[in-house]
Symmetry: C2
Subunit: 235 residues, 2 copies
DNA sequence: GTCTATATCTTGATAGAC
DNA sequence: GTCTATCAAGATATAGAC
C-alpha cells in the first residue's frame, strides 16, 4: 500500500494525537503520530515501513535511526495506551468520593473518557497488541491486568458491603469493561454526545448493571415490589 | 510467516468450526476453516497465501481454483459471521415470550450465544472487516446495521411502555451490544462458565442496565427506597 | 483440481555517502 | 540524522503440465 486503498472506515474521523507530555519531540514523535493513524486505520500488518515513512515525510531508511524495527513503533504505542489508561484509572480512584458506588462510577468515567479522548490510541493498544511478540507485549499485558483488577476489587468490595447486587462480580467487571472498551470504535466528533455525556451515561449503566442500591442501607421490604435503581433522564 | 512466530495469544483455545450447514464440502470448506483460524489469530494482513495453503494442506496455487483472491476468502467468512448472528437474533425474537423485557433478554442471550459458540468467526467478522474493500464489506455492514436496529427497537419500545428506565436508549443499545461482542475475545473452554451461564448472566446485566422493572406495573412508592431488580446468586 | 515453476511486486531492513 | 541505493526475502497471483 502506497496510496490509500480506499477511504478509511475503521474509525470516525478523530484527531491524531497522543496524551499530553508523552509525544517525543522531533521526528521520533512525528513517526509515532503517523503510526498511530496508520496502525489504527489499516492495522500493523496492513501498514508498511514505506507507508509510515511517507506519512511522516521522511525516507524509509530514516525510520531506523529512531526505531530498531517496525515492531518497536507499535510496542511504544501499545505500552503508551495501556499506561495512559492505567494512570487515569488510578487517579480516578484517588480522587473519587469514598464508597464502592462512587468508585465504580469514577472508574467507568475514567475508562470511557480515556477511550473517547484517545480513540486511536485505545484501538491500536487493544486491537494490535496481538501483533507484538510476547516479550514486547508483556509490559502492556501486565498493565491491563492491573487495570482489570482495579475494577474487580471495587465490584467485590461493593458486593461484600451490600452496595452492589450482582450475579457474578467477575462477569460484571468483564461486561462493564467491555462497554467502555468499545467506545473507541464509535465515538468521535460526528456523534451527538460529548465525551462527558457518554462517560456519565456509561457510569450510570455500570451502576445499574451492578445492581447498585441507591440510597437505602436498610434491607428492602419482603414483598418483591422493586423499581429502577438510579435516576433516569429519558432519551 | 511460515511457521508460527509465537504461541497464539489473541484467543482462548477454541474449536475451529463454522455454523452447521454452512461449511462448503471439500477443499473449499477446508480453506475456509484454515482461514478462520489464521485470520482470527494473526489477522488478514498477518496471514499469507502460503500460510493459508500450508494450513489447508494444499499448494498455494490451488487456492485460486477455489477463490479468485485472498480477499474473497475473508469476505466469505465476514459475511457468514454477520449472517449467522443476524439469523440467530431474528430467531430469538420470534421465539421469545411477548414483552420488551423478555425480548431484550432473548436478544442478548442469542448474541452472547453466537459469540460463545463461534468466537473465531465473530472475531474475524468484527475485527477483520476493515481489511475488506467497501464493496465487499457492504453486505456485512448492512446485516450489522439490521442487527443493531433489532436491539434498538426493543429498547425504545420498552422505554415507551415504561418497562425500561434508561437515560438514552441509543447509548444503552450500544453498551449492551458491546458487552456481548467482547465475549468472543475471552470466552472459551478454559473459562469456569458454560456458554449458557454467560448468556443468562449477560441477559440479566442487560435488563439491569436498561433499568427493567421486574414485576411491578404499579408505580413505585414515593419514598426512594429501592433495591436490586433481579435475583442474585453471589459470585 | 492439483501441482511445479515462475512472474512481478512489495516487504523489512542495511550499507554507506553527506 | 537524513538521504540514495540496494539486498534478500516474502507477498499475491498466473502459466501451463498432468
Amino acid at each position: 500500500m502506497t496510496t490509500p486503498r480506499w477511504e478509511p472506515r475503521r474509525l470516525s474521523a478523530v484527531a491524531v494525537e497522543l496524551p499530553e507530555g508523552v509525544t517525543p519531540p522531533g521526528t521520533r514523535g512525528r513517526i509515532l503520530l503517523s503510526a498511530l493513524r496508520l496502525f489504527a486505520e489499516y492495522g500493523f500488518h496492513g501498514t508498511s515501513i514505506r507507508d509510515l515513512a511517507g506519512a511522516t515525510g521522511i525516507n524509509s531508511a530514516t525510520l531506523y535511526a529512531h526505531f530498531p524495527a517496525k515492531e518497536h513503533v507499535l510496542a511504544e504505542l501499545v505500552l503508551l495506551g495501556h499506561a495512559e489508561l492505567h494512570q487515569r484509572l488510578q487517579q480516578a480512584l484517588v480522587e473519587a468520593p469514598p464508597g464502592p458506588a462512587a468508585q465504580l462510577a469514577a472508574l467507568v468515567r475514567a475508562q470511557v473518557g480515556a477511550h473517547a479522548d484517545f480513540p486511536l490510541l485505545a484501538l491500536v493498544a487493544n486491537a494490535e497488541l496481538h501483533a507484538l511478540s510476547p516479550e514486547r507485549a508483556a509490559p502492556a499485558l501486565a498493565l491491563r491486568e492491573q487495570s482489570r483488577e482495579l475494577g474487580l476489587r471495587v465490584l467485590r468490595l461493593g458486593v461484600a458491603q451490600g452496595v452492589f447486587r450482582v450475579a457474578d462480580p467477575l462477569l460484571a467487571a468483564t461486561a462493564i469493561g467491555s462497554m467502555g472498551m468499545q467506545v473507541a470504535h464509535w465515538f468521535g466528533p460526528d456523534q451527538p454526545y460529548t465525551r462527558d455525556q457518554v462517560a456519565d451515561t456509561y457510569a450510570g449503566f455500570a451502576l445499574q448493571l451492578a445492581g447498585a442500591v441507591v440510597a437505602a442501607p436498610e434491607p428492602a421490604p419482603k414483598t418483591a415490589r422493586t423499581s429502577g435503581t438510579t435516576p433516569v433522564k429519558k432519551g
